[in-house]
């Protein structure tokens, strides 16, 4: 009697366990947004869904463009799917759509580092009418988006890391905008100390993106490239990260934490940094161009008292900006690839990029827009920093495809370890070099 009951009880517990594990394995993504209930299906419209970002004004502007398209095209309804802010999470969501070969999303907004990894899931846009417009865009990005002769994505907006600085505070403390990291350190320290003495205990010198994620790869790549330390892995597939210049500049950055940058910077992404900056509590910020128009809005404490410049220089004598930016790609699993491609090309067209540049300071990928007077009036730095945008340093995504994500994760985790004081820069990079050899086989 006991024996049987015991068996039964054990069996029940094991069953519970199995269900738990199965739950683990089939865990639904926490971030998948609920699909909006289908409305007005009476007219049998073709629904095209765009998976788009929502950082800053992104979502708003994408919806605006979608509305314009809907107005002009009777039979089509473009819907915008809101996706997670962190690129890594967004990639996770996309991969689940791809694994399921889902037709739910037709157009994907993809990061500049993904075309190599994801090419097999997208159509060749050149066959859907992109061939005639593609030459208007920045050639470096078009090349980046072309995999085995296939144009997997049309450039939508480009990004490059910029230094935001407070013109009023520089004037108050009689300083010039910094051109080297040493100057930045010095000026940030002076302003931070001064402002704290005057009573703003929450004031910090410099905020950037130090959380353990892709943004840290971008930040650290800028430090290293500006210090003549290479680009982690060179385009000809050589692992270059373990060098003295890289060690030196990462140690320097680790020294900022707790001095000119708050200790919490090792947990910050773009929006966390912007929140501090826009609240008027930072003298300098490293961020992408999207923060420019937001910082100039009425609710911003820094409206009209800031400017942007290229990032400071290290040993190389010139600052470096990581190439960022997003593209639009059409899913191979879409039910209406022709219409989806038309939507993607519309979104990336001259007019729409212009609208986004003026309203959201999103950098166009179309060369001619950098000479458009209306665009230049809204964001004057587009003209003055044109060289920064066109010379931005690419992350080693092409050289390492399809392993870029693992490479970048190994890199940012190892830099993060140095920033939080868990390891020394020299040891971390030596270890990283071996890790990268294992990962890539170079």
């Amino acid at each position: 009697m006991f024996k049987n009951k015991k068996l039964l009880a054990m069996f029940t517990v094991f069953m519970m366990l199995f269900t738990l594990l199965a739950g683990c394995a089939a865990e639904a993504p926490a971030d998948v947004p609920e699909e909006e209930p289908a409305v007005e299906e009476t007219e049998e419209k073709v629904v095209i869904t765009i998976a788009a970002g929502a950082v800053g004004q992104e979502l708003e502007l994408t919806k605006e463009a979608a509305a314009i398209y809907n107005e002009a095209n009777e039979g089509v309804e473009v819907r915008v799917l809101d996706t997670p802010d962190l690129a890594q999470d967004r990639l996770g969501l996309y991969l689940q759509f791809f694994e399921a070969r889902s037709a739910e999303v037709d157009v994907y907004q993809i990061d500049v580092i993904w075309p190599g990894d994801l090419a097999e899931h997208f159509v060749d846009l050149n066959q859907y009418g992109a061939a005639s417009v593609v030459n208007d865009h920045f050639p470096a990005i078009v090349e980046n988006n072309t995999v085995d002769g296939k144009l997997v994505a049309i450039p939508w907006f480009t990004d490059a890391g910029l230094l935001y600085y407070r013109t009023d505070l520089l004037e108050k403390y009689d300083r010039q905008p910094p051109t080297t990291w040493d100057e930045l350190e010095e000026t940030a320290k002076i302003i931070q100390d001064g402002e704290r003495v005057e009573g703003n205990q929450d004031f910090v010198g410099y905020v950037w993106q130090g959380n353990s994620y892709e943004g840290l790869t971008c930040n650290a790549l800028e430090w290293i490239a500006s210090n003549d330390g290479g680009t982690i892995i060179s385009p000809d597939q050589e692992i270059t990260i373990n060098n003295q210049n890289a060690v030196e500049i990462i140690e320097k950055a680790a020294g900022w934490i707790g001095t000119i940058s708050p200790r919490g910077v090792t947990g910050m992404a773009e929006e966390d940094a912007r929140a501090i900056w826009q609240g008027g509590n930072a003298a300098f910020m490293r961020n992408w161009p999207y923060a420019y128009s937001l910082s100039n809005e009425d609710d911003s404490a820094v409206k009209g008292v800031f400017d942007v410049s290229a990032l400071p220089a290290g040993n190389s004598g010139a600052g470096a900006a990581t190439l960022g930016g997003w593209q639009l790609a059409v899913s191979k699993y879409s039910e209406n690839p022709e219409i989806a491609a038309d939507v993607a090309l519309f979104m990336a067209s001259y007019e729409m990029q212009k609208m986004r540049a003026i309203k959201g300071s999103f950098n166009p990928t179309i060369k001619a827009l950098y000479e458009d007077p209306e665009v230049l009036e809204a964001s004057p730095f587009f003209g003055s920093l044109y060289d920064v945008f066109i010379n931005a340093v690419a992350r080693p995504s092409t050289a390492t495809a399809p392993n870029y994500n693992s490479v970048s994760t190994a890199f940012f985790r190892s830099v993060h370890g140095v920033l939080t004081g868990d390891s020394g820069a020299a040891d971390a990079l030596e270890e990283l070099e071996l890790d990268l050899e294992d990962l890539t086989g170079f």
């Binding site: 009697m1 006991f2 049987n4 009951k5 015991k6 009880a9 054990m10 517990v13 094991f14 519970m16 366990l17 199995f18 269900t19 738990l20 594990l21 199965a22 739950g23 683990c24 394995a25 089939a26 865990e27 926490a30 971030d31 962190l86 890594q88 990639l91 996770g92 991969l95 689940q96 791809f98 694994e99 097999e120 899931h121 205990q201 929450d202 130090g210 959380n211 353990s212 994620y213 708050p262 200790r263 919490g264 910077v265 090792t266 947990g267 910050m268 929140a275 399809p402 994500n405 693992s406 994760t409 985790r413 939080t420 868990d422 040891d427 030596e430 270890e431 071996l434 890790d435 294992d438």
Partner: protein, 368 residues
Amino acid sequence: MIETKKKAPLVSRSKRSDLAKREESLAYKLLIPTIIILLLIAIYPLGQVFVTSFTDRQFASGQETSFVGFENYRRLLSITIKELPPALDEETGDVKIDSDTGKVVYERPIQILPREPYRYREYKQFNFLGNRYVLGATDPDFIDAIRNTVTFTVISVFLELALGLGIALVVNSHFKGRGAIRASMLIPWAVITVVSARMWEWMLASNRVGFFNTLLYYLGLGDGQIAFLASSNLQLAAMVAVDVWKTTPFMALLLLAGLQTIPNELYEAGDIDGAGKIRQFITITLPLLKPAMAVALVFRTLDALRVFDVFQVLLGQSKYSMASYNYFQLIGNRNMGLASAIGVVIFLIIFVFAISYIKMLGVDSDEA
């Protein structure tokens, strides 16, 4: 309860009545639909995870999959301990001494740890009997994830049990507005974890925007810049805090149910016999609450070992739990084979916990 088993008369087993036998077989028949459903929804996917764990399958990729045997497991779980010899000065041949600390300098682990066939990375260094050792692992992140998860589970479940018991005792007593309190105490548990994790993210913010930094600052502790979620020695504590806040009500609810089954007469008899409240708690409440406590502990422990959402939302790639490391390998690195192996290892770890609970607490024993 194990004792009661031994005292059970052996006669009853051999002389079981026909009725009992028939009832028992009916019980098994009634279980059949459940078993079939479980086979379909649990055993099948589980089997698939097992099979995938022996392959190098890539997630969301057209790449061909091949069978790799136990390689994924070896990559995950291989550990080694090596002695670190003291570093010798190249010129004199003497043992190097750090000029600042006066301590012996040892060889660096990266030189000592094996690199073939898999590379071992440093996980920890420790001293034993005057020698210096390094613990190397092929996947220190996963070993760390296991450690984080187990630490998290032990601390958070213990705190939840202690606090939950306290709350249960309070709401079990008679006072005005008891119903309202019982209902409202469940609110934290009812909030979706991802949402409450975001809420805690704001409260734990690394400057005075955050509630905790502001509070501590006004109490004169810290400089208002404590990075709860970014500094590695505070991260686990923050996770425990979020989890305790969220699941203590659940624990309290399970214990409350147990408390209500204890007949009041026992306490009355205790009063008559002159037992104080503490004595009553130890000799009446605790023993009779044990079955409910066992169930609550099993539930919470198994649940805590699978913790995913809090770690994923608040810590991302900076510190992993077993489940968030699994997610990262599957989604981030697209190593479906390796991720499946992780799933199996998690399963086995939870299994061990479940078995030890059954043994320790006698969950399975017969109350009749």
